[in-house]
C-alpha cells in the first residue's frame, strides 16, 4: 500500500509539474463546450432572408411582419424581381427567399386557395432544411389564425418532441463532449504516460522493483480517474448553468456511468500502451483509432440510424456509443437502471476484454 501511494504521489507530481498539459486538460472541456455551444450549432437567429412581395396588400404585409417578428429571420431586402433574388443567393447574402404571389389577400379570402414559394440555399443542406421547416411552421400558424381554425378536410399535424421539446442543441452536445473528453483524458493520456515510462527507460526500473505490474498500472491510472471525473463535473455543470441541460434522472447513477466509461477508456489506453513502444505511436494510435471514430460514429455528430450498414456495425464497437446512450438516458429521459443495464453491461464487458487482452500482451512481452 505504501509503495502504491508513493506511486500515485509521483504521478500527481508529473501532472502538476507540467502546467501546460494541466491547463490543456482542464481548459479543453471548457473550450469544447463553448465551441459546440456557440459555434457548431444548428440553431439559428437572424437568418438573412429576402421577400418578393408581388401582392403588396394588407395580408402580405402582415405575413412578412409575422415572419420577421419571430427573431429567427432578418429581412435583408425586398427585391422586385426573381432575377435579383438570384443575385442575392449567388452572393450568399440571403439564405431563404419567400415569394408572395399577386392577389395574395384576395385569393386567400375569396378562393380559399393561394400559394407561396419558399426558396432556400441548398448548398448548405442542413441549414436550408431547418430554415424551410421554421418558416413553414410560422406560415402554417399564420394561416390558421386568419382562416379561423384549421380548414376543413385538412389533416392537422401536431408534432411533439419528447425529451427535448425545444430541440435544444446542447441536449445533444453536452453528453457528446463528456464522452469525447473522458476518452481523451482516460485513454490518450494514460497511453501516453505509460509509453513515456517505456521511452525513458524508467519502466524497466519499475519492473525490477517489488511493485507488481498491476500496482504499476493502477498507480498510473488513478490520477487520471480523478482528472477525468473533474472534467465530467465541469462539463455537466457548464451544461446545466449555461445551456440549461437538465439532469432528470439520478445523479448517483450518472456518476456511476461516468466512472464505468472512464474505466473502459482507461483499459483502452492501457491496451494501446501495451502495443505502442513510443509516445508518438501511442498518440497516433489513440487519435486515429479512438478519437475520430468516437466523434463521427458514436451518434454524437451524425445519427447512427442513418448510417450505412457497415458503419453502423463499427459504431457498435465504439464505447462512446453506449456511453452517450447512457448519458442521454439518465440526463434527458430520467431512466433508471432497469432500462439502462444493457449498454452498461456492454461497457463493462468491453473493459474486461480489453484488460484481458492487455494482460496477454504484457505476458508475451516479458517472456
Amino acid at each position: 500500500m505504501r509503495s502504491f501511494l508513493a506511486f500515485v504521489r509521483k504521478e500527481f507530481y508529473h501532472i502538476l509539474r507540467d502546467t501546460r498539459t494541466l491547463l490543456i486538460i482542464l481548459g479543453m472541456p471548457i473550450a469544447q463546450v463553448l465551441i459546440f455551444g456557440y459555434a457548431v450549432t444548428n440553431e439559428f437567429r437572424n437568418a438573412p432572408i429576402a421577400v418578393i412581395d408581388q401582392s403588396h396588400d394588407e395580408l402580405s404585409r402582415e405575413l412578412i411582419n409575422e415572419i420577421t417578428a419571430t427573431g429567427y429571420f432578418n429581412l435583408i431586402e425586398q427585391p422586385p424581381t426573381t432575377d435579383q433574388l438570384d443575385a442575392l443567393f449567388r452572393s450568399g447574402d440571403v439564405k431563404l427567399g419567400i415569394i408572395i404571389p399577386p392577389n395574395f389577400e384576395e385569393d386567400f379570402f375569396r378562393q380559399k386557395l393561394t400559394s407561396l414559394q419558399l426558396v432556400a440555399d441548398g448548398s448548405d443542406p442542413n441549414y436550408a432544411t431547418t430554415l424551410i421547416n421554421y418558416s413553414t411552421q410560422i406560415i402554417g400558424s399564420f394561416q390558421q389564425r386568419y382562416a379561423g381554425g384549421p380548414a376543413r378536410y385538412q389533416i392537422g399535424v401536431e408534432t411533439q418532441l419528447v425529451y427535448n421539446p425545444l430541440l435544444i442543441n446542447a441536449y445533444n452536445f453536452i453528453p457528446g463532449v463528456v464522452a469525447i473528453i473522458l476518452l481523451l483524458i482516460s485513454a490518450m493520456m494514460t497511453s501516453l504516460t505509460i509509453a513515456k515510462e517505456k521511452e525513458m527507460g524508467t519502466m524497466d526500473l519499475l519492473l525490477v522493483s517489488p511493485l507488481s505490474p498491476v500496482t504499476i498500472i493502477l498507480g498510473k491510472v488513478t490520477p487520471y480517474v480523478f482528472l477525468a471525473m473533474i472534467n465530467a463535473i465541469i462539463i455537466l455543470v457548464m451544461g446545466y448553468f449555461i445551456f440549461e441541460v437538465p439532469v432528470v434522472g439520478s445523479l448517483v447513477l450518472l456518476f456511476a456511468f461516468c466512472l464505468l466509461y472512464v474505466l473502459t477508456a482507461l483499459s483502452l489506453g492501457i491496451f494501446i500502451s501495451t502495443k505502442a513502444a513510443s509516445q508518438q505511436a501511442a498518440m497516433m494510435g489513440s487519435l486515429f483509432t479512438l478519437l475520430m471514430p468516437s466523434m463521427l460514429l458514436s451518434g454524437f455528430i451524425f445519427p447512427i440510424d442513418s448510417m450505412p450498414w457497415p458503419l453502423q456495425q463499427i459504431s457498435k464497437i465504439i464505447p462512446a456509443t453506449y456511453f452517450i446512450e447512457l448519458l442521454k438516458g439518465v440526463m434527458l429521459k430520467g431512466l433508471g437502471r432497469e432500462f439502462l443495464w444493457q449498454p452498461a453491461v456492454v461497457l463493462a464487458g468491453m473493459t474486461i476484454v480489453l484488460l484481458l487482452l492487455s494482460w496477454v500482451n504484457f505476458k508475451v512481452r516479458t517472456k
Binding site: 506511486f7 524497466d204 525490477v208 516479458t366
Partner: protein, 240 residues
C-alpha cells in the same frame, strides 16, 4: 551467511532458434565487484535481464542473494538494485522527489526515507540542489544520483548495466569510488561495461563471446593467461 551473492549454472536463454545466452555458469562472491564484459550482442544484457527478473530463463538454474531465481523472483526484487544503461530517474521531478519515490516503491518508512535522502544529498554534495529538477543536472551527477537511488533500500546485490556511458574519465573515477564504497560495506556489485580501464577496477571479470563465457578470473589472471599487457588486449584476443 551466504557466501555467494549470485550463482548461475547452465543458465540459458533462447529466442526461437537463436540462443542468446548459452549455458553460462559462474559465481559472484558476496561483496565482490564483478565485471561482466562482452561485445555488443554477446548476450550481456539478456543475461542481466534474466538475473533481475525482467526475462524468464529458458533453462538452467540461478540464485540471487541466496534466493532461487525460478521460484522466488518476487522476493529477489526486494533484495536487488538496478541501474540501467538509459539514465532512468524522472527528469521532471526534483532530486528529493525522485529519492522519495524510489524509497516509497521499496516500501521504506517515511522516517527512513528522510534519513536516506539526507545521506544521499550529503554524499553527493547536492544539499542546496535538492529541490531542483533532475533534468538540469550534468550527466555525471545524474549517474551518481542514479547509483545512490539504486542503493536506497540497502540491497544485497546491485546490477549496473553500462552505468558510465558517455562521461569523462574523471567523472567515471568518482563513480567507481562510490562503487568501491558500497562494495566495502558488503554489497555485491554486478557491472557491465565497455570501458576496459573500468574492467581493471573489478575484483573479477567474465568476458562473454557469442552467448558463452569465454574467460573468467581476476584481471591479473586473465592478462597472464592471455599474455597480454592490458585488458584491452585480452578482450580483443577473445572477441576476434
Amino acid at each position: 551467511m551466504i557466501s555467494n551473492a549470485i550463482t548461475a549454472s547452465n543458465l540459458t536463454k533462447k529466442f526461437g532458434n537463436f540462443t542468446a545466452v548459452d549455458n553460462i555458469t559462474f559465481n559472484v562472491k558476496r561483496g565482490e565487484v564483478f565485471g561482466f564484459l562482452g561485445a555488443n550482442g554477446a548476450g550481456k544484457t539478456t543475461a542481466i535481464k534474466m538475473l533481475i527478473g525482467l526475462s524468464k530463463p529458458s533453462g538452467g538454474e540461478a540464485t540471487v542473494a541466496g534466493l532461487n531465481l525460478m521460484t522466488q523472483s518476487e522476493k529477489i526484487k526486494e533484495r536487488i538494485g538496478y541501474m540501467s544503461q538509459k539514465f532512468s530517474l524522472y527528469e521532471d521531478l526534483t532530486i528529493r522527489q525522485n529519492i522519495n519515490f524510489y524509497g516509497g516503491v521499496y516500501g521504506l518508512k517515511r522516517k527512513d526515507i528522510r534519513t536516506k535522502t539526507a545521506d544521499i544529498l550529503a554524499e553527493l554534495q547536492l544539499e542546496d540542489k535538492a529541490d531542483e529538477k533532475v533534468g538540469g543536472l550534468p550527466l555525471g551527477w545524474k549517474q551518481r544520483l542514479s547509483f545512490s537511488v539504486a542503493n536506497v533500500h540497502d540491497p544485497d546485490v546491485v546490477f549496473l548495466d553500462e552505468p558510465t556511458g558517455g562521461v569523462d574519465p574523471a567523472t567515471r573515477r568518482q563513480f567507481w569510488e562510490m562503487i568501491y564504497a558500497a562494495a566495502s560495506g558488503g554489497r555485491t556489485i554486478f557491472v557491465t561495461t565497455h570501458y576496459m580501464d573500468e574492467a581493471e577496477y573489478c575484483d573479477r571479470i567474465s568476458i562473454m563471446v557469442a552467448g558463452k563465457i569465454a574467460a573468467l578470473g581476476t584481471p591479473g589472471e586473465l592478462k597472464e593467461r592471455f599474455a597480454a599487457k592490458s585488458m584491452d588486449e585480452v578482450f580483443l584476443r577473445l572477441v576476434r
